[in-house]
């Protein structure tokens, strides 16, 4: 979640669901909250009942829209233009929260003279290196700061060009020149104003298809409900993230909320709504290639393999991340125990190193090219859930072995038998050499453990019954696999096996199944002192001298006092509305992040109505409804002495303590791959040309140009004239493994369908309840048709554009079955986070059941473009007519 991380300091929702009831206005965009988070939506309904204005901006009129006071249909993939328009409105009409913006954001910072904006370069920022589709970010920095600026959030970005190799991070960032009058032409505020100058209501109408009056109504509602007395909250979900420029969607939203002064305040903030029970947890304790637990970066291959250099290049000189070494050393102590000593760099040298992108899509591409031999899939169903399913399955076919752990025979486990290309006869099961192991997985009712929910809150679930037969938890599987591997490697003297041999792996087990104790694991995650073996009370107790161990520093405190804090269940009605004694939220059980900002620079609540955390002068500490997200005894009037470093460099009015300068970043001088400010780029496949800039798409997006992953023409491809967007339904869950097998859910939405407007239905002869065939270059599918006025064609720049919606839950195994929608998606991603663009692409729709189910990944070809239309534009990477993509390219000498 670098959109939030880079801007505010932490990659997590800034608020919690219950707090929505305090909102005066809630803007839901990029999320269909009522359908995808119905129970969380109760807090929106409560706000509405208290008089709040609910606004839903969405391509479709959904069940969320039905509850909203205002529904604004928007073209899929144009949200930056809409949000940018709001930013402009706020700036141009002087509706921003001046005191908040001046003190709590970097609005006053001055930028380098050589920075050039999209205004100057027609959609590009300065520093673009066209050969690599990457930016050299040097020119994006603050004036007077040499070298890279430390960015919080996704720390791994330091390993990108220009970011933080060598020198320890400058401490001078807190002292960077500023103009608190916000008048200097190169101050962030003025740059921001100029940048968004062209995002006028007229352009919003042109790009988003939102009539000016509707847009202005939203803008006015937001402004009227922000300020000292009122707050507006924003809710988003994957409708924002799953774009080739998704991180910048969230950046724009965050900028808007900062300008309105809504971050860190009750009823304000940005609520990221996540779709899996522990998706926040799986980023915090990442099963992600580029991170170690607690948002510590995975080390990348550098000339120096030493811990010192790693620490030096990642430690921020100022702000909370100056504690970086404590967290790294404690992690290494947790992993390698007594074998981790200062002398052997705590085992750091054993950690594997990254060389570029090892994300899911890259892994699958490599798999399809035969470079990956073994694959573990646990609780995920890429054959349905992932983009370009046929390419996913092509990858699976090249494996030597595949381990699938799930409840039942999901499509990924059955890829060798029921997949469309097998049913068609393109591939024979007999020819697939992959060995498949299916392990039945335990349900949450059969194991202890914690989920981290959408508001960063860990909640413990207790095992209710023992799993039967061969059913086991992932904890059991991985623990016993580790045990066996340790045994297999016990006699090895090789350096490569040292990490495994030294790995601490002695969790107590219980029961006949020898189920490892999840509490013991949580205890290790929480951290403990090496000498006494006592759980630490929180991350402030962690040390960088090897005397503490901690598996995930941000979760430190979850087992404070030897008590499983995540299992706390003091009934909500016996607590304050914040309910701090229910579960445990990272960091340090804070429920609203950056809540120092709920008080004015002097530490007083902005208003009685929006009182939350404030400075208690008598007790000389911060206090309030929540755990203060600040140094608890740091007075508001504290100013660091010149040359101060570390946490001491933060002033008493710097609420964003994770940031090196304690300020929220309206402008991101570092940390983003695709620009310090958000700019509207069209999705990689779009029916229209970018109306704002000459640059059509995100120039840094990741593409996988290969025969099995063909792309449409970047805009106006006559073969695929309509916009396609995918989504979820209340009645189903993700790839269907947990819903299409359940009859009580299946009967509620039994068949794959697409939603079209009556106008498109007329144009294409589709009838309600009938069948349609959807096509993209990747393949086609058949589904039922719902003709509904909930979708209407949009007027864009005088032309009418149709949008087609399709849920992606269906696949070929289950009690109800259908063609998977994600089969139609290409591999294309946001460079910041490798998230695919599944919310906006183009397609064709025809009447009837005409699907061939042929897939590009198994050799199907698409119709040729009409004469005179070239497929590639200036921003397209390279031709895609290859089967095998070069891999791990040797760097040119000058880069090394």
């Amino acid at each position: 979640m670098p959109g939030l991380g880079i801007t505010l300091g932490r990659g997590g929702a800034t608020t919690f669901q219950q707090d929505l009831r305090n909102s005066d206005c809630i803007l839901i965009q990029g999320s269909n909250m009522a359908e995808c988070h119905p129970v969380g939506f109760q807090w929106v309904m409560e706000a509405k009942a208290r008089g709040a204005t609910i606004i839903h901006v969405d391509p479709r009129f959904t069940r969320t829209s039905a509850m909203a006071n205002q529904h604004v249909p928007i073209r899929v993939g144009s949200d930056i233009a809409f949000l940018g328009g709001l930013v402009r409105y706020v700036l141009e009409h002087e509706r921003y929260f001046k005191e908040y913006v001046t003190h709590y954001t970097n609005a006053a910072n001055l930028l380098r003279e050589d920075f050039q904006d999209t205004e100057d370069l027609d959609g590009l920022f300065s520093g673009f290196v066209p050969e690599e589709n990457k930016y050299d970010v040097t020119s994006w920095g603050y004036e007077g700061i040499e070298g890279p600026t430390p960015a919080a959030g996704h720390k791994e970005l330091y390993s990108e060009p220009g970011a933080g190799e060598g020198e320890s991070q400058s401490t001078r960032i807190t002292e960077a020149p500023k103009d608190f009058t916000l008048q200097h032409p190169r101050c962030v505020f003025q740059v921001l104003r100029r940048h968004f100058q062209r995002y006028t209501p007229a352009i919003v109408a042109k790009v988003c298809g939102v009539p000016e009056e509707q847009f202005l109504k939203v803008a006015e509602a937001l402004c009227a409900n922000s300020g000292r007395e009122r707050t507006t909250a924003l809710c988003y979900a994957v409708g924002w993230t799953q774009h080739s420029v998704g991180v910048q969607y969230i950046r724009t939203a965050t900028i808007l909320q900062l300008l309105l002064g809504n971050i860190g305040r009750p009823g304000g903030g940005i609520l990221a709504l996540r779709g899996h029970s522990s998706i926040q947890g799986s980023t915090d304790i990442p099963t992600l290639f580029n991170l170690l637990p607690g948002y510590l970066p995975m080390p990348s291959a550098q000339p120096s393999p030493h811990l010192d250099d790693y620490l030096k290049s990642h430690t921020s000189g100022t702000g909370w991340w100056s504690n970086f070494p404590k967290y790294v050393v404690s992690l290494l102590k947790a992993w390698f125990g007594d074998a981790a000593t200062k002398e052997n760099e705590y085992g750091f040298r054993h950690l594997p190193r990254l060389t570029g992108n090892h994300s899911h899509m890259q892994t699958v591409a490599d798999m399809a090219d035969g470079r990956v031999r073994g694959y573990f899939v646990m609780g995920e169903n890429p054959a349905v859930g992932s983009m370009n399913g046929a390419l996913q399955r092509k990858g699976l076919r090249q494996l030597d072995w595949l381990v699938v752990r799930d409840f039942t025979l999901i499509e990924t486990a059955e890829f060798w038998r029921t997949a469309p290309e097998i049913q068609r006869g393109d591939v024979k099961p007999e020819d697939i050499r992959t060995e498949v192991f299916f392990f039945p997985a335990a349900a949450h009712t059969e194991k202890d453990g914690s989920f981290t929910n959408t508001q960063r809150m860990l909640q413990w679930h207790h095992a209710a019954v023992e799993p039967r037969e061969d059913v086991r938890s992932e904890l059991h599987f991985i623990f016993h696999l580790g045990r066996r591997l340790k045994a297999l490697y016990a006699d090895s003297g090789e350096t490569k096996d040292q990490a495994l041999r030294e790995l601490t792996w002695d969790y107590p087990t219980k029961g006949t199944h020898e189920e490892p104790s999840a509490e013991a694991v949580l205890r290790e995650i929480n951290g403990y002192t090496i000498k006494e073996g006592q759980p630490v009370s929180g991350f402030t107790a962690l040390k960088d001298d090897g005397t503490t161990a901690c598996g995930c520093w941000i979760y430190s405190g979850a087992y404070a006092d030897g008590v499983n804090q995540a299992a706390r269940r003091k009934p909500g009605h016996e607590q304050t509305w914040v309910a701090p004694e229910w579960g445990w939220a990272w960091p340090a059980n804070r429920r609203i992040l950056y809540n120092r900002a709920s008080a004015d620079p002097e530490g007083r609540p902005w208003s009685e109505r929006k009182k939350y955390v404030w400075w208690d002068d008598a007790r000389r500490r911060w206090t309030g409804e929540d755990v203060p997200d600040f140094i608890v005894d740091l007075p508001p009037d504290y100013r660091p002495p010149p040359g101060a470093s570390g946490v001491e460099a933060l002033a008493g009015d710097n609420p964003f303590i994770m940031q090196a300068d304690g300020k929220a970043w309206l402008y991101a001088p570092a940390g983003m791959m695709d620009g310090p400010l958000p700019a509207h780029y069209e999705p990689m496949e779009s029916p229209v040309k970018n109306a704002l800039y000459g640059q059509q798409c995100n120039p840094t997006r990741l593409e996988w140009p290969r025969r099995g992953n063909p792309y449409h023409r970047a805009w106006g491809d006559p073969r695929y004239p309509f916009i396609l967007t995918t989504y979820r339904l209340t009645e189903h869950h993700t790839a269907g493994g947990m819903s299409r097998w359940l009859s009580w859910l299946s009967e509620l939405q039994p068949e794959q369908f697409c939603e079209v407007s009556p106008e498109l239905a007329r144009e294409r002869g589709l009838s309600n309840g009938g069948w349609a065939t959807l096509r993209t270059a990747r393949g086609d599918l058949e589904c039922r048709v719902l003709v509904t006025e909930r979708l209407r064609p949009l007027k864009l720049n005088g032309t009418s554009v149709h949008q087609v919606g399709i849920p992606y839950h269906w696949g070929v195994t289950g009690r109800i079955r259908g063609d998977g929608a994600n089969e139609l998606l290409p591999f294309v991603a946001d460079a910041n986070v490798d998230i695919q663009e599944s919310k906006a692409l183009t397609c064709d729709v025809v009447e009837g059941r005409q699907a061939t189910r042929a897939r590009a990944a198994t050799g199907a070809t698409q119709p040729a473009l009409p004469e005179g239309l070239e497929l590639h534009r200036r921003d397209s990477l390279r031709a895609g007519e290859v089967d095998h993509v070069p891999w791990q390219e040797k760097k040119k000498d000058e880069e090394r």
Partner: protein, 265 residues
């Protein structure tokens, strides 16, 4: 025991169908088959022998006051339908076996250990709620979680409902809540909001519904009858006609026999 019931507020229903599933889960009812209907997001159609809560989806070309849309004059209405547990219940009054009874909570309950599947209740319900399951042979409908009520628990649907569209409680309390809600909506400009079946004054044909609704369009739009009547109320006329008919029958018989006698040689 106080009178219990449901107040279902269509204006806060998000159509999530949690009530349908919570009901199936608690009562452990089978699915009704997997059929695509094309009727907006409604794939279960109506209440039946194994669907005791049903969410209706109404897409209509009429805006809801206070709500603006970008898709023209349009609104999407949803409401969770359920057995009404009528004060004068057609099914109850029709049931010849005493399988259907009124409970101490003033709700209407089908005793599955008695029902012999005569099917009369099915025809007697003016709302089309109760239905006989062909392969089971008995009639089934919402029990208003009679098993839970005794233990002070909330019915499964009302407990699950994320947005308090379905509220369970004492009827007096529900009535007050519902009236306040209507007033509130009227103040917000949604003057079409009204209570369906709140009491006998509102719906004399049923004597009022223990499960009543707040709606914003005509009842027919939600598949509810505008002026339902428990059939028993009209049966008097039929019985009178039987009496007349009996007289006629007797007269014909007597007449024929007398005629036959006179005509005898």
């Amino acid at each position: 025991m106080s009178r219990k019931g449901f107040f279902t507020d269509s204006t806060t229903c998000i159509g999530c169908k949690a009530c349908e599933v919570a009901c199936k889960q608690w009562n452990q009812l089978p699915d009704d088959g997997f059929h695509f209907t094309g009727m907006s997001y409604d794939q279960t159609g109506d209440l039946g022998c194994s669907t005791w809560r049903h969410v209706a989806f109404v897409e209509r070309p009429v805006p809801l006051p206070g709500h603006t849309t970008g898709v023209g004059d349009f609104s999407w209405l949803m409401v969770s339908d359920v057995c009404k547990h009528c004060q004068r219940a057609g099914c109850l009054e029709a049931c010849p076996t005493g399988a259907i009874v009124r409970t101490e909570f003033d709700t209407v309950y089908v005793q599955p250990d008695v029902c012999n599947g005569c099917g009369y209740c099915v025809t007697a319900c003016p709302f089309g709620v109760i239905d006989r399951r062909p392969d089971d042979g008995r009639a089934w409908k919402c029990t208003l979680c009679y098993d839970r009520l005794g233990d002070g628990m909330t019915p499964a649907c009302a407990k699950a409902c994320p947005t308090e569209s379905i509220v369970y409680g004492d009827l007096d309390v529900l009535h007050e809540r519902a009236e306040n809600r209507v007033r509130e909506l009227h103040e917000q400009g949604i003057i079409s909001a009204y209570l369906y079946g709140k009491d006998a004054a509102n719906q004399p044909g049923t004597g009022g519904l223990n499960a009543f609704f707040l709606l914003v369009d005509k009842p027919e739009v939600y598949n509810l009858p505008p002026d339902p009547v428990v059939p028993t109320m009209k049966a008097r006329e039929a019985w009178s006609a039987v009496a007349l008919g009996a007289l006629g029958m007797a007269a014909v018989a007597v007449g024929a026999v007398l005629l036959g006698r006179r005509g005898s040689p």
